[in-house]
Symmetry: C2
Subunit: 201 residues, 2 copies
DNA sequence: ACCCAGACTAAACGAACGTTCGATTAATGT
DNA sequence: ACATTAATCGAACGTTCGTTTAGTCTGGGT
C-alpha cells in the first residue's frame, strides 16, 4: 500500500494506465464484452477521460492494437517461437499488461493491425529459415514461403489456443518465464515432431 | 422466392431457425457483439420468443455450443484433419450455418463445452495414432499423449486462425469443399513438415 | 361448439452502453 | 497576481441491451 492514489496532472502516465487497463480487460473479456466504465474503473479515472484521450472506444482499441504490435515487432522471433524471451524484457512482460493474451485474442478476432503483423512475422520467418538452410541446419524445401507461413500459423495458433495448451500440456504460452516453454512438453514435442517427422521412414 | 414466410406454429422448425441464425451471427461477430434483437431479426421472429425458448441469451449460447458440439462429435477425425469430410455430410455443412466458423471462435473464446470437446478429440487422436504405429506407418514416440495433443492443437489452432490461413495460403479451412484442404498449400506443406521433419538429417 | 395449451407478439422495464457538455481543478507562462 | 491552458471530473444525454409481463392468435382434443 504505497502509491495507490495516482498522481494527478500527469498526462502520459494516465494515458498508459488507461491503456494497460484496457489491454488487460480486452484480453480477458474481449473488446465487445468490456465497457469503457469498467476500463475507467480499473484505471482509476473517469469514463469520459477515456473518450477525451482516445476519441472513441474503437480509438482505444486501435491504440491497444498499436501498443501490442509495437512490442511484438521488437520480439517477433521470440514470440513466434513462443518462448525464450530474454529475462530483461521478460520483466516488462510479467509486470505490465498481458500483451500476449491480448495478441492471442486479436489473432482470432481479426483486429485491423494483426494481419499486417502476422505477415511481417511470416516474412521474417522466411529469412530465418533461409539462413538455417544456408548453414545446413534446416532441410531445404520447394516452397519456402508456404513452410514459413505454416510454421507461423502453428505457433500463433497454439498461442491463440493457449487455454487448451495449458490444460492439455501444462504450459502457459502467454506467461513464459525464462524460456520454460521450450523445455516444456510443448517445446519438446514440437522439436520431436518437426525434427524427425511423424511418418516412419 | 418460394417459402420466404416461415410457417407459424411449428415449434421445432422455428427453434432451429433461431439456432441457425444465432450460430451464424455468433460466428461472425462473437457472442458479446451480437444482440438478441439481431438474432431475432435474422430468424424472422420476435426477440422475446428467443427468451421464451432458451430462457436467456446465455441459454441460447449453450444451445449453440451443444448443437455444434454434436456435429463435431460425429466428425471428430475429419474436423481435426481439417478436410476430407465426405460429400454427403458436406452438403449439410455448406447449406446450414457456419458450424466450423462457430467452432473456431468457440475454441479461442473458451466456451464451456469446447474444452471437453477438445479433450475428446485428443483422446481419439491418441488411439488413431496408436493404430498407425501398430501398422508401422507412424513413428513410435515416448510421449503418445503429448504428440496427439500437439497435433490437435496445431490443427485446431489453424482452424481458429482460419482468416490468416486463407490470406497466407489461400485455403478456407471453414469452407472445405470435397477435401480441397488436403491438396492445398496447407495440406501439402503439413504433409512435408510432418513427413520429413524440418531439420537436416 | 368449446376450450385450452402453446406458439407467438406488443410494449415496456431497468440497467448498461458509448458519448457529450459544462464545470472544476491544478500547473504554467508572464 | 493574473490569465491561459490542459487535465480531470460530474452529470446527464439518447440508445441499445437482456428480460419481463401481458396479451393475441391458432390448431387439436373433447
Amino acid at each position: 500500500m504505497s502509491d495507490e492514489s495516482p498522481p494527478r496532472g500527469d498526462k502520459s502516465a494516465t494515458k498508459s494506465r488507461i491503456l494497460a487497463a484496457a489491454i488487460t480487460l480486452f484480453a480477458d473479456q474481449g473488446v465487445a464484452g468490456t465497457g469503457v466504465r469498467a476500463i475507467a474503473a480499473a484505471a482509476d479515472v473517469h469514463p469520459s477521460l477515456i473518450i477525451h484521450y482516445f476519441g472513441t472506444k474503437d480509438g482505444l482499441r486501435v491504440a491497444c492494437d498499436k501498443h501490442v504490435a509495437a512490442f511484438v515487432r521488437e520480439h517477433k522471433q521470440q514470440v513466434m517461437r513462443a518462448g525464450r524471451i530474454d529475462p530483461a524484457e521478460l520483466r516488462d512482460l510479467s509486470d505490465g499488461p498481458p500483451l500476449l493474451r491480448y495478441l492471442a485474442r486479436a489473432l482470432a478476432d481479426g483486429s485491423p493491425h494483426t494481419a499486417a503483423l502476422v505477415d511481417e512475422m511470416v516474412k521474417d520467418a522466411v529469412d530465418y529459415l533461409a539462413e538455417g538452410v544456408a548453414s545446413g541446419l534446416i532441410r531445404p524445401t520447394d516452397y519456402p514461403y508456404e513452410r514459413a507461413a505454416l510454421l507461423a500459423i502453428w505457433s500463433l495458433g497454439a498461442l491463440a489456443l493457449h487455454e487448451h495448451v495449458q490444460r492439455l500440456l501444462g504450459v502457459d504460452l502467454t506467461n513464459l518465464d525464462g524460456g520454460a516453454a521450450v523445455e516444456s512438453a510443448y517445446g519438446q514435442m514440437a522439436s520431436e515432431l518437426l525434427g524427425k517427422g511423424i511418418f516412419r521412414t
